[in-house]
């Protein structure tokens, strides 16, 4: 009866334990899978497409009155648009009511017609040129107030900044382009005749006393081409790009406004077709060039040591062509995307960095007059020559991301050649984000590599010594001490490595390298002395206590190496090892480098590898060791040929667990390296790992923004990497196990 009860209870516990273990195991697997699904789920929308849809289409009334609108602009909420017509009127259009709410005649242009127009990137300033050589610079203001119900009220208005006669000849202004830094600082470039360029600029400076000083300049020059077909000035008034009928672009420097200087002339159209449209993108580094055949490319200037000026033009991106002559290009005020349209009314949104066509806007396919990209880059207004106005809303998603920009080389603005770069955020909107994961992946492997080449030999041989050769008493001290090392939080190790070890190592590096020679010598010496002692004293020493002799000698050797370090440095390395490295290997020594991390992360990994190795070695069956020794093999032969092979699956998994720890380690790398995302394997400089990068950048990443998703993608990459490595390791381990099972 009693026995039966006991039995029942035992089987109950048995079942309960089984259920709990099963449940726990399944739960773990589910959780890991769920995390995995979440990580992938967060990163996958990166590769999604942009979205665009037509929301409004209506006819402008002014067309019926014989006036033709020249250009269009819009406020940031896409409520009020403005157009300027050829008969010198400016109209504000309420986009919700689809009607003109005000119409103002621009004074001073009676009996004249505007024939050219241009607006600045922020579409607040408009320059217009008339058929009688007169130009005007307008500023459009939107004042936003809130009613009591916090409803937004937008009051549009405009100011005339300046009306000016471009010069005395009264020739019609065929093309006009403007750059405005403020009301008091602007430049207007006009084209009269075939290639006659007139530059007018103004700079008013206010002194502290309130005096105004006006500094205006005028200059006129002939472009180095027969016929100018397009021109664009950048927003800082420093660069002027002119497109010619023969398909070349001319780059003029406007640093000195009174004498523009031709820097370079290059053929930009592959078929030498006329350049029809030019537009600087935000940041003023890249100019988009469109020709009469629909070819689109971007050009930018890069540093060039050979030319006198120091800069030259290069063509980093070629985009998919449109179908006919490019009519309009407008840039975004938020990122590097732009809208481009041809004469047939094909409209596409493209992105510079990824060279991608984000979305095609399905309009009415009629000739286009002008386009405006809304200030927040979430919509666009298209003005057709027949007076139709269309509005599209655009959801750009993650325009700068393609597999190519994440894993491939990209030619970024201002770079001499395509490169792998990680530089995710800048303090300004015109920053071109650089999201290459390659430097981070390389950095991850670099950190792991240096940690393991430091940790594996020490941990492995340490474990071999303690388990096979050392006296059990020594083992009982060494093992717990090493295990205590594992208890150190990695942030403490990282802190010490960054703030204490790194400066120390920089001072004593030559000595540290000498240690690698001194240590083996001292070890040999120690063993020699150990063997000599019985001969001298006649007493036999206990086996397994050699280490007590070796350790003091090793410390002595280390001290000796440190002491000799400076003299070694001055004799062999020319007095300064950093200069020597730079001179002979072109390696600059960085204080926070891979050696420091190797030591620190090695320190964190050693206890793991050591303990598991030691356990594996100790669990080799006693009968194998005894048998081997009984057959006359020495201790070393037994260790190398019997114990090591038998324990190899365990040792292997120890190393792999160490590897896993090192590859995912965050805090040590974060604190001990400079987190420099560089691409090389030199031990003397730093690196940035995937995990440290995520830790550094996640607080600044806006929820579900591009950076946020890229960081999740980097987590997914890290997961895939460890998954592959672990699976491979497991396969190898199974093989080893099978092989040595029979022994």
């Amino acid at each position: 009866m009693l026995k039966d009860k006991k039995h029942k209870r035992a089987s109950f516990y048995n079942d309960a334990a089984r259920i709990i273990i099963y449940a726990g195991g399944i739960f773990t697997i589910v959780v890991v899978l769920a995390i995995l699904v979440f990580v992938f789920n967060e990163s996958l929308p990166l590769f999604g497409d942009a979205d665009a849809s037509k929301t409004k289409e209506f006819q402008l009334q002014n067309k019926h009155e014989g006036k033709s609108p020249l250009l269009i602009g819009v406020d940031e909420y896409e409520k009020v648009a403005y157009t300027v017509t050829d008969s010198a009127t400016l109209e504000f259009i309420d986009l919700d009511k689809k009607e003109i709410i005000s119409e103002t005649k621009i004074a001073g242009f009676e009996n004249q017609a505007f024939i050219s127009s241009s607006k600045t990137l922020n579409n607040n300033y408009v320059a217009l040129g008339s058929n009688q050589g007169k130009a005007i610079l307008l500023k459009v203001n939107y004042s936003v107030t809130f009613s009591d119900e916090t409803e937004r009220i937008i009051e549009p208005s405009f100011d005339i900044i300046k009306t000016l006669k471009i010069d005395s000849t009264n020739q019609p202004i065929r093309k006009i382009s403007t750059s405005v830094i403020s009301d008091d600082e602007w430049t207007i470039v006009s084209l009269v005749g075939a290639n006659e360029i007139i530059l007018r600029s103004l700079l008013i400076t206010h002194s502290i006393m309130g005096d105004e000083q006006e500094d205006s300049s005028y200059s006129k020059f002939y472009a180095d081409t027969d016929s100018v077909t397009a021109m664009a000035i950048d927003n800082t008034s420093e660069k002027l790009i002119i497109g010619s009928r023969s398909g070349s672009i001319l780059y003029y420097s406007l640093k000195d406004k009174t004498s523009p200087e031709l820097i370079q002339k290059v053929v930009a159209s592959p078929d030498k077709k006329p350049i029809t449209s030019l537009q600087f993108l935000i940041g003023d580094q890249s100019v988009i060039v469109g020709d009469a055949k629909g070819n689109i490319s971007s050009w930018m200037r890069v540093l060039d040591d050979e030319s006198d000026y120091g800069w030259k033009l290069v063509q980093p991106h070629i985009f998919n062509s449109l179908f006919s002559s490019i009519e309009v290009i407008v840039g975004s005020q938020r990122d590097k995307s732009f809208i481009i349209a041809d004469t047939e009314g094909n409209i596409q949104v493209k992105h510079l960095t990824s060279s991608r066509t984000l979305v095609e806007l399905n309009g009415i396919h009629l000739p286009i007059r002008d386009i405006v990209y809304s200030p927040k880059s979430n919509g666009t207004l298209v003005l057709y020559k027949n007076g139709t106005l269309e509005h599209f809303s655009i959801e750009p998603a993650h325009p700068e991301i393609t597999l190519q920009t994440i894993f491939g080389k990209v030619w970024y603005e201002g770079y001499k050649k395509p490169e792998y770069v990680w530089q995710s955020t800048g303090g300004t909107d015109d920053f071109e984000s650089k999201y290459s994961l390659i430097p981070l992946i390389i950095g991850t492997f670099k950190g792991t590599f240096y940690a393991l080449i430091f940790a594996i030999p020490i941990a492995l041989f340490g474990a071999l010594y303690t388990s096979v050769f050392a006296h059990p008493k020594i083992k009982s001290i060494v093992k717990p001490v090493v295990e205590i090392m594992a208890a150190l939080p990695s942030v403490v190790i990282g802190f010490l490595a960054g703030l204490w070890l790194a400066p120390l190592l920089e001072r004593i590096l030559p000595g540290v390298f000498l240690m690698f020679f001194f240590a083996p010598i001292m070890m040999m010496l120690g063993i020699y002395i150990w063997n000599q002692i019985p001969k001298v004293t006649g007493k036999k020493l206990k086996n397994g206590y050699e280490v007590l002799m070796i350790i003091p000698l090793l410390i002595l050797g280390g001290q000796l190496a440190l002491w000799l370090g400076p003299s070694f440095e001055s004799i062999a390395l020319g007095g300064d090892y950093r200069a020597w490295l730079l001179k002979n290997f072109n390696q600059s020594y960085d204080q926070r480098n891979a050696i420091v991390v190797g030591f620190a992360m090695g320190f964190a990994v050693i206890p793991i590898i050591f303990t598991i190795c030691e356990d594996a070695l100790s669990s080799v069956p006693q009968h194998l060791t005894s048998g081997s020794l009984a057959l006359g093999a020495t201790k070393w032969q037994t260790a190398a040929h019997v114990i090591l092979p038998t324990a190899s699956p365990g040792i292997f998994s120890a190393i792999m667990i160490g590897f896993g720890r090192a590859i995912g380690e965050t805090m040590i790398v974060l604190m001990a390296t400079g987190n420099t995302p560089i691409l090389d394997f030199s031990p003397f400089n730093g690196f940035r790992t995937l995990s440290a990068n995520t830790a550094v950048e996640i607080p600044e990443a806006p929820y579900q923004g591009t950076l946020y998703r890229v960081l999740f993608l980097s987590a997914a990459v890290l997961f895939i990497m460890t998954f592959i490595v672990n699976t491979a390791a497991e396969i190898v381990r199974q093989r080893l196990r099978k092989k040595y099972m029979d022994i």
Binding site: V481, I484, K583, S588, T676
Partner: protein, 337 residues
Amino acid sequence: MKLKSISIFTIILLFFFMSQNFAQKSISNSNNQQTSQKVEVDKNISHYKAVSGVSGNLSSIGSDTMNNLLTLWLEGFKKFYPNVNIQVEGKGSSTAPTALISGTAQLGPMSRPMKKEEIDKFEKKFGYKPTELRVALDALAVYVSKDNPIEGLTLPQVDAIFSKSRRGGYKKEITRWGELGLKGDWANRPISLYGRNSASGTYGFFKEHALFKGDYKNSVKEQPGSASVVQGVTEDRFGIGYSGIGYMTSGVIALPIAKDAKDKFHQPNYEQVLSGNYPLARFLNIYVNRVPNKEMDLLLREFAKYIFSYEGQQVVVKDGYLPLTAKVVKQERKKID
């Protein structure tokens, strides 16, 4: 067993010794800070008058540069209102907009102006723009170790040291101290670069104004805080780094900076910042969420009033930053009334 306890004891001893080392260092740092420079707060800024009924919680998330400043303000404010709790977290300016949008913070200190993209996100959530309060002046300083004999740097030189794009127009990349005219054992030493992580507003501001919007070199060691930049430069004799003037210690020198080769070198002090000669001067901002046409939340308003009072600006000086002028204070006060 005995041996085990001895080994543990040794390890503890080792740690104790090291922590002693660190403690000494940090004490010496904080001492120097107070003796750095004497700046007087404008007498025309009115004193703070406490009102009744102020209590509750405030939290601030954002700039690391302004971390100490906010903590000191909070201490000062608590003297008037002991029932107020304020939490300060400073991981970098880029964390401020995210926190303001999600509502986890009422104060968003930023050492750079908010990007339009960030304002867009805020506006998308609330329908109006965040209110920017300029709370202090800072001279973003370029630090070198105290042994460094260099006289000063021009902005294009700074650009050529830190940036790979060299938009400042300096002809050659600068990698060694010798290229800046230093002689002797300095000549061949590579320049070791310290900077902030990309969440930092200082990172963004420096990029915009000192690098002319160019890109940082990959070899710039990105530190998680301003203090670690200064610490890095202190420990690294051949280092150079940038941080707010409030983080200056005796281990480093804040270099005089010139706008270009024609300009004279200007010290990063109050006088040069006010005259506009020092090229890396900036405002430190706090962004708040204020509903238009509505009274500001009492606690938030009183905290802002405290910042714009004589006492509040005195705290700015205490932390090593530069106080606002009475004129700016008047403009800013309008935004909160």
